[in-house]
């Protein structure tokens, strides 16, 4: 079967790969580009572990076909920190003990960043509903929600 050549941008850098037409963006990121920070929990768009930004839109990478990202811009968990400086969400997840096993964490951080970009000061309920597409089985969400709200406060310049 002939493979498709895809040129795209991943975390601000040009990237290219060959893939099957039926391959998902998730598989391409993980297997062609070696970006395994984006996780597969279900493959059906139900768990949010593979959350990435596609042209500024939050999507589950398992529901995007890899050829669809031709000429577009993808942001993954690997692109969230700026050099050695963690994003406030990453820092707050650590400070609040908002992860236990950590498999859902990349997806949560990508989704929470999208939330705070859309709505810099969400209420607890807004954060809970925005992040309802991300499953966590370890934490009961309490510390995740606190970390997200605290990161939002810090990004707004309010010290917690």
């Amino acid at each position: 079967m002939s493979r498709t050549h895809v040129e795209t941008s991943v975390n601000g850098e040009p990237a290219e790969f060959l893939c099957q037409p039926s391959e998902t963006l998730l598989d391409a990121l993980r297997n062609q580009l070696g970006l395994t920070g984006t996780k597969e929990g279900c493959g059906t768009g139900d768990c949010g572990a593979c959350s990435v930004m596609l042209d500024g839109q939050l999507v589950p990478a398992c529901l995007v076909l890899a050829p669809e990202v031709e000429g577009r811009s993808v942001e993954t968990i690997e692109g969230i920190a700026r050099g050695e400086k963690l994003h406030p969400l990453q820092r707050k997840f650590l400070e609040h003990a908002a992860l236990q096993c950590g498999i859902c964490t990349p997806g949560f951080i990508v989704a929470a960043k999208a939330l705070l970009e859309k709505n810099p000061s969400p209420t607890e309920a807004q954060a809970r509903y925005y992040l309802a597409g991300n499953l966590c089985r370890c934490t009961g969400y309490d510390k995740i929600i606190r970390a997200v709200l605290d990161a939002g406060a810090e990004m707004r310049g309010e010290s917690a």
Partner: protein, 754 residues
């Protein structure tokens, strides 16, 4: 002991593996690849019960890219042998057949064949070319059918195990357990009030977000390398060896980061298959990663149960008699957690006269695996629902009723031993005093309370602590870090060495880099492996004192270790100044060489952890949908090493239990085909389903641990099922005897109530 002042224990440092986990760098089971790697795929039975007449994989083997195929007939027949473990026992023969079926497929999803190919797609495509000739048999889908005369028999060779009158062969009853005390008939004669009900809970899954994954590579010298996501590398080594009839020392297991387990990764599914595929593919590494559907169909779950309890009490609320019969689905092979269910069902209360009977029954569903406090949540749901009924019947406050009957130090547990210091009474009092318990309720709201406990395991652990030239230290154990245990290990080493937690690097070893450790399970890691870390760190401190004594030419008895420094005492103090750790480590070479501390131990009985949960539920009478409005978890942690992760266990366990109570269940059709093997239809709690979960950590020191630590991971899933159901009773006036309390079930009950 309990008066000890701690410097690092009880603080909340950033976990050492945290950075890798928030940046996506941490490598989980599916994140590894190896040069020349092939992808494997597994063909699973479409039938819940079928005889496998023949499997022909020749067409698959001839397909493009396919390098190997394997069926059950290619695997050695492993004799049945039962062995106990951290989270219940298992039979090696069963585990091997569960990895790849032999004569029969016993559930919808049972692995029957596997292939390895150059690409994932080629492996998937090749599965369709494998021809399996099945003779479809009637499936046994519930315990009533399994126990009925003339029921289809899953395994004609099954030998019932356990106590009492065992059923005659052939039977679907795998195990019988029983406990009794006092004189049951006498107890019920003394009773002034009797309550009795039957309860059911469905089969549910652990629901870890990371599917099972492994890579296996075989070598020309017979040595085998396995990389996998597991709760125990040594367990994978031993069980894979047993399944293939190999010497365990041929197998090296490197545990990846683990994306959740909750007991579900205390066994093996993929590893022997991957090894066999690798061998047949000339030693190329083979990667197997389950899909979510495979996870639901073929791994986990825990038992569906049917439980009947009868309680007798005096008018003042004192329990005098209790009788319980627990019937647990084992799934396709022996091994439901009915044993711990029977041990825990009456374990929270003083009941002078009791009889407990438990049955482990085979049905054509996936073989159950350990799930957080295996067996206890279901038994506790039944018991604590009935305690709520008794409190209503007697018009006694439900916490007062429990306080009146609560076990405390010196009480004899129904399963034998006497309790040491435990925190049930303290937890009940904390619940009673908590503002949550006194807060007013709104319309359509109800409040439920439930207690519960888990034994916690001890078992075998090893640890190595070494100090570096720069005065930092490395801690190595063999327990995969499933929820922050590296941080706990580092905190305990810091406490002994007297250096900051950040100066310590905790790591998880593979099967060749650390002494034997039983798996991460039974809430044992912080308790038992932590104890090994403390002892290993004390071994380092002993050596550091010796080095200081050598430098000062004094007796080691004249050197004490405090706050990260060797401090001279007595005569030595006159001419010497304290030496900090780094002053000793820079000259290790001159004073006797590198310093490595080690410890290995079998930890004593761990000391049960008790908890009390409070739940406020609001029910929409029009739809039957309910929402948890407020939740408080109170638990005895003995001593919280890292309170943030203790709270996290309490909150996470509560959330999992709430899911079990409200929505989670396997749905089967009449043929035993799973109808909801995905996260869309198997409904786990999401962020918008839950409120914040308040926590109260009680600390009743556990005398078997140097700091008083108790395991905390499992206890918090024990009370929520009943706490939610009791809140539903309070909100609606309806006693639900069956979980889940999903909107259709609640709506139907409300309509029947009128």
């Amino acid at each position: 002991m309990s008066e000890r002042k701690f410097k690092y224990v009880g603080t909340r440092p950033i976990r050492h593996d945290g950075l890798d986990k928030v940046t996506g760098r941490a490598e989980f089971g599916a994140d590894q690849e190896m040069p020349g790697m092939l992808w494997g795929a597994i063909l699973r039975s479409p039938h819940a019960h079928a005889r496998i007449r023949q499997i022909d994989a020749s067409k698959a083997l001839a397909a493009p890219g396919v390098k190997a195929a394997v069926t059950g007939a290619d695997m050695p027949k492993v004799p049945h042998r039962w062995m106990g473990g951290a989270e219940g026992g298992m039979d090696f023969g069963d585990v091997a057949e569960n990895c790849l079926a032999r004569e029969k497929a016993l559930y919808h999803g049972h692995a029957v064949a596997a292939v390895a190919a150059a690409t994932q797609q080629q492996a998937q495509d090749a599965l369709a070319l494998i021809q399996v000739d099945y003779e479809v048999l009637e499936p046994v889908l519930d315990v009533e059918r399994a126990l009925a005369p003339g029921a289809p028999i899953l395994d004609p060779e099954l030998e019932p195990m356990g106590h009492g009158a065992l059923p005659a062969k052939p039977t679907n009853v795998a195990t019988c357990v029983g406990f009794r005390g006092g004189d049951l008939a006498q107890g019920f004669r003394e009773a002034e009030v009797v309550v009795e009900r039957s309860f059911r809970t469905p089969m549910v899954h652990q629901g870890y977000i990371e599917p099972h994954a492994c890579i296996a590579r075989t070598g020309e010298d017979g040595k085998i390398l396995i990389w996998c996501s597991t709760q125990g590398a040594f367990m994978v080594q031993m069980m894979s060896a047993m399944a293939l009839g190999l010497d365990p020392n041929l197998i090296k297991v490197i545990p990846s980061e683990i994306g959740g387990g909750f007991g579900g990764k205390t066994t093996i599914y993929l590893e022997p298959v991957a090894i066999e595929l690798s061998r047949r593919a000339g030693g190329r590494p083979v990667k197997l990663v389950m899909t979510r559907e495979e996870v639901f169909r073929a791994t986990g779950p825990t038992s569906g149960t049917s439980i009947r309890i009868k309680l007798g009490a005096k008018r003042d609320g004192r329990l005098v008699a209790g009788q319980a019969r627990l019937v647990y689905e084992a799934g396709a092979y022996r091994g439901s957690p009915v044993g711990p269910g029977a041990m825990t069902v009456f374990g929270s209360y003083k009941i002078p006269h009791f009889e407990i009977e438990g049955l482990d029954v085979l049905v054509n569903k996936p073989k159950v695996a350990a799930y957080r406090a295996p067996g206890a949540p279901m038994a506790n749901f039944a018991m604590e629902s009935l305690m709520d009924e008794l409190a209503r019947e007697l018009r006694i406050d439900p916490i007062e009723l429990r306080l009146l009957n609560a076990v405390s130090e010196g009480c004899k547990a129904p399963y034998g031993p006497r309790y040491g210091p435990i925190g049930l009474v303290e937890s009940l009092r904390a619940a009673k005093e908590h503002p949550h318990y006194k807060a007013p309720l709104g319309k359509n709201q109800g409040r439920g309370i439930a207690a519960g406990f888990w034994f916690n395991a001890g078992l075998q652990s090893s640890a190595v602590v070494s100090v570096n030239m720069d005065g930092s230290a490395v801690v190595r154990t063999g327990n995969p870090d499933i929820g922050g245990s590296r941080a706990s290990m580092a905190i305990m080493a810091a406490e002994e060495l007297g250096i900051p937690v950040e100066r310590i690097r905790p790591m998880v070893g593979d099967t060749e880099s650390v002494g034997y450790c039983d798996l991460t399970g039974g809430s044992r890691t912080t308790f038992a492996t932590g104890m090994a870390v403390i002892e290993a760190a004390r071994d380092v401190v002993r050596q550091l004192r010796e080095r200081a004594a050598k430098i000062w030419s004094c007796s080691v008895d004249d050197v004490k270790w405090e706050d990260g420094m060797a401090i001279p005492l007595n005569a030595a103090a006159e001419k010497n100044k304290p030496l900090p750790l780094i002053a000793l480590t820079v000259q290790m070479g001159a004073t006797g060489g590198p310093i490595v501390g080690r410890a290995s131990l079998t930890a004593p009985a761990a000391g049960p952890g008790f908890a009390v949960h409070l739940c406020d539920l609001e029910v929409d009478p029009e739809t039957g949908r309910s929402e948890v409005r407020r939740y408080t978890a109170i638990q005895d942690a003995g001593k919280a090493v890292h309170p943030g992760y203790v709270e996290g266990q309490m909150q996470g366990g509560a959330a999992q239990g709430i899911g079990w109570a409200l929505n989670e269940e396997y749905v089967w059709d009449a043929e035993g085909v799973v109808q909801n093997p995905g996260f869309l239809d198997y409904r786990m709690p999401v962020a918008s389903d839950l409120p914040m979960v308040d926590t109260v950590i009680i600390e009743v020191a556990n005398p078997t641990h140097p700091y008083g630590v108790r395991g905390v991971g499992e206890t918090p899933i024990v009370p929520p099922l009943a706490a939610v159901a009791n809140a539903m009773r309070d909100a609606t006036g309806v006693r639900f005897e069956q979980l889940p309390l999903s909107p259709p079930a609640v709506l139907a009950a409300l309509e029947a109530r009128g």
